[in-house]
Amino acid sequence: MAAPEEAPVPEDRPPDTDTAEAVDLRLHQPEDHGALVHVAAPPQPSDPRLSDVDEWGRSEHMREIARKAYDPVYRHWFRVEWEGMENIPRSGGALLVANHAGAIPSDAPAIMHGIEKELGRPVYGLADNLFKSIPLIGTMWARVGGVAGHPDNAYRLLREQRQLVLVFPEGAKGPGKTWNERYRLRRFGRGGFVEIAMRAGVPVVPIAFVGAEESMPIVFRLQTLAKVFGLPYAPVTANVLALGPAGALTYFPAKFKIRVLEPVEFKDVLPNQERYSRNRVMDESEAIREKIQEALYDMLRERQSIWRG
C-alpha cells in the first residue's frame, strides 16, 4: 500500500511494516464499535476514471504519442549512441545523475527515451519547480514524464515506488553556460542528490552526455531580459543567429554519445536517517562530479567530429 493509488509497484517489494500494523489493528477492532464506524463498502465495480493521468501527472497515452514523435529525432537527428547501458539496474530504484547542457536542454529527453526504449523501464525526470509555473509547458512536461524536483518527490519515487529518477545536479547553471564554457561541469548544487540517494538507500548512476552542448549552444546571455522575466537565463543561441526565429526551437544535429558509469553505492550508511554527514555528502557529490567530468574529457578526446561523432 506504499502508494495511495494504482502506482506501478514492482512485485518484489518487501512487505511494508505499516501495512502489517494496519491490518493487525483492524483485526482487533472491537465488535461493538462497528455501528459507528462504517465498514468499507466493496470497491466500485466500474472504474470512475476518465483519463489515465496518474499521481505524478503522467499519462501513458500522452507518453506513447510523445515517444512516437520523438523516436525519429532520437534515431536520425541526434543518432544517439549508448555505452555502459548495463550499469543501469534492471529493477529497484536508482538515481541517474547527468551533466546538463543546451539552451533548451536536449539531454533529458534523449536519456529518458533511450532507457525506456532499451530497458522498458520508465524514467522520472526531475525538473526545476519553475517548470510548473509555465502554462501549458509545465502541464505537458508532467504528462510525458517530468516531476517537480522536490526531495520528497524523489524519495517517494526511489524508496517507495522503486523507480529510476533522473536528475541534473547542476540545475539551471548547466544549460545556462555559454559556448566557451562547454563541457565544464558546474557545482553540483549542495549535494542534495547524494543525500536523497542515501536516504532512499539507492545507488547513484553517473551519466556523461556528449553532444547536447553543441545542439543548442549559447553565444551570449541577456542579463536584463532574464531579470525582467524572472528567468534563470535568457540565451541568444547560435541556432537563432544562424536560422533566425526558427532557430529558437531547432537543434543542430550534433551526434549524441551517452556513457553510463559504474553505479556508486552507499552501503555503509543507513537509509531513512534524519540527517547525513555534510562532509560525507559533499565528498561523495564531488567524487561523482569528478567522475562525470573525467568521462566527458575522455569522450571528447575520442570524438573526431561534432556531427559524426
Partner: protein
C-alpha cells in the same frame, strides 16, 4: 458512565451529522451542541445551546455539563461564506475560548477532536506532490482563512502540549465533496461553465463527506492522538473532474487571473475564494497513509467521491433541490426532551 460530548458547530453540516451519529451510540450519555444558528437536521436527544460566534459562554457550559469530549467542527474554511473579521472571531477567538474552557481547573475534558483543513499546507509551485502531516508549507499564508487556520492549529498544539492527559486529534480534511455539502469547489462544479486557468491542469484530491464523518468518529472511538490527513486515494486532473461532472471549462488567462475573475466575482457568476487560485494552478495532494495505518478504511477514493457527487448532482438536476424536511422549533424540541408527558425509553440503566 458514558461519554459526555460537546459538539461545536451543531448547525453546520459536520456538527449535525456527527451529533446524529453519536446519538445512535449507547456509550454516549449526553450530547451538547453549540452554534450560532439552529440545527438543520432532526436530532433526538442532543441539547442545542445558542451561543455567540466566539463562544464566550463556553466556559460556563463546559463547567455546567462536565463534558469529557469536545468535537470542534465549527472552523470556517470557506471564506466566501463570511467576512474576514467574522472569520477571525469564529476560528481564532472561538478556538481560543474553547481551549481556555477545556483547560480550566476542574475540567473533565479527556478527548478533543478538531476539524481542520489541508488549506494549512497552502499551495505553490515549490510544493511536493504529496504533503505528509510533517511537511511544512512552502510560504507563509496570505489569505485570512489560511492565517486563521494556522493560528488555530497553534492553539491546538499548545493545548496538547500543556495537557498531556488529553487525547487531542487534529484532522486535516482535503477538498470535501458530496451530494449534500456545499463548498467553493462543489459550487463551482455545479455551474454550467467551470473556471480553470489556461495552460494549467492541476491534480486535485477529494474526500467524500461520509468519510469525513466516519473519520471523526473513528479517531474518537480509537483514541488516536496526533495530526492526520483525511483524503481519498489518488489525484485527479481538474479537467477530468470537470469532464466527470459533464461540464465544460472556461479558461481564464494565466496572467492577471484574479483581475479577470474579479468582475465575474462581483457579478456573482462564480465565487472562487483567494486560497483556491493557487489550487487551480498547482493542485495539492496529501498523504493519507497515517490514518490508514491507524486502521481507518475509506469508503471512497478521490475518483469515486467525485462520482458519488455527480450522481447526487444528477438526482438534484432531475427532481430539483430537496426542500429541507426539518425546521428547528425550540418549543417542540424542549417538549420531546423534557416534558413529563413524553414516555422515554430508559437507555442509560
Amino acid at each position: 458512565m458514558g461519554r459526555r460530548v460537546l459538539v461545536t458547530g451543531l448547525g453546520t453540516f459536520w456538527g449535525g451529522k456527527v451529533a446524529q451519529a453519536l446519538e445512535k451510540d449507547p456509550g454516549v450519555d449526553v450530547i451538547v451542541g453549540l452554534d450560532t444558528t439552529e440545527p438543520t437536521i432532526e436530532l433526538e436527544r442532543t441539547e442545542y445551546v445558542r451561543s455567540d460566534e466566539n463562544y464566550s459562554i463556553l466556559n460556563r457550559i463546559v463547567r455546567a455539563t462536565q463534558v469529557d469530549t469536545i468535537i470542534h467542527t465549527f472552523l470556517v474554511v470557506d471564506s466566501t461564506s463570511v467576512g474576514s473579521r467574522r472569520l477571525h472571531e469564529v476560528n481564532v477567538i472561538g478556538t481560543m475560548n474553547l481551549f481556555a474552557a477545556a483547560s480550566a481547573s476542574g475540567s473533565k475534558v479527556r478527548d478533543v477532536v478538531v476539524k481542520s483543513s489541508t488549506l494549512v499546507y497552502g499551495t505553490s509551485m515549490e510544493d511536493p506532490v504529496w504533503f505528509t502531516e510533517n511537511t511544512p508549507r512552502s510560504h507563509t499564508p496570505r489569505t485570512p482563512v489560511e492565517q486563521s487556520l494556522e493560528e488555530v492549529e497553534g492553539y491546538v498544539r499548545d493545548f496538547a502540549q500543556d495537557n498531556p492527559h488529553v487525547t487531542v486529534s487534529l484532522l486535516r480534511f482535503s477538498n470535501v465533496i458530496g451530494a449534500d455539502i456545499s463548498t467553493p469547489l462543489t459550487r463551482a462544479l455545479r455551474l454550467p461553465l467551470v473556471p480553470s486557468i489556461m495552460g494549467f491542469d492541476p491534480r486535485f484530491q477529494f474526500v467524500d463527506e461520509d468519510d469525513v464523518i466516519n473519520s471523526i468518529l473513528f479517531v474518537l472511538e480509537h483514541d488516536q492522538p496526533g495530526i492526520y490527513n483525511v483524503a481519498g486515494d489518488g489525484l485527479l486532473p481538474w479537467s477530468e473532474v470537470v469532464d466527470m461532472c459533464g461540464k465544460r471549462r472556461v479558461p481564464l488567462p494565466p496572467l492577471g487571473t484574479e483581475l479577470v475573475a474579479w468582475p465575474l466575482r462581483r457579478l456573482g457568476i462564480f465565487e472562487i475564494p483567494d486560497e483556491y487560485w493557487g489550487l487551480l494552478r498547482y493542485g495539492r495532494g496529501v498523504d493519507n497513509r497515517k490514518l490508514k495505518a491507524a486502521g481507518f478504511t475509506y469508503k471512497h477514493t478521490s475518483a469515486s467521491a467525485v462520482e458519488a457527487f455527480v450522481r447526487g448532482m444528477r438526482l438534484s438536476g432531475t427532481v430539483g433541490e430537496r426542500e429541507p424536511e426539518y425546521k428547528y422549533e425550540r418549543d417542540v424540541e424542549q417538549f420531546f426532551r423534557h416534558s413529563p408527558a413524553v414516555v422515554r425509553e430508559t437507555t442509560s440503566d
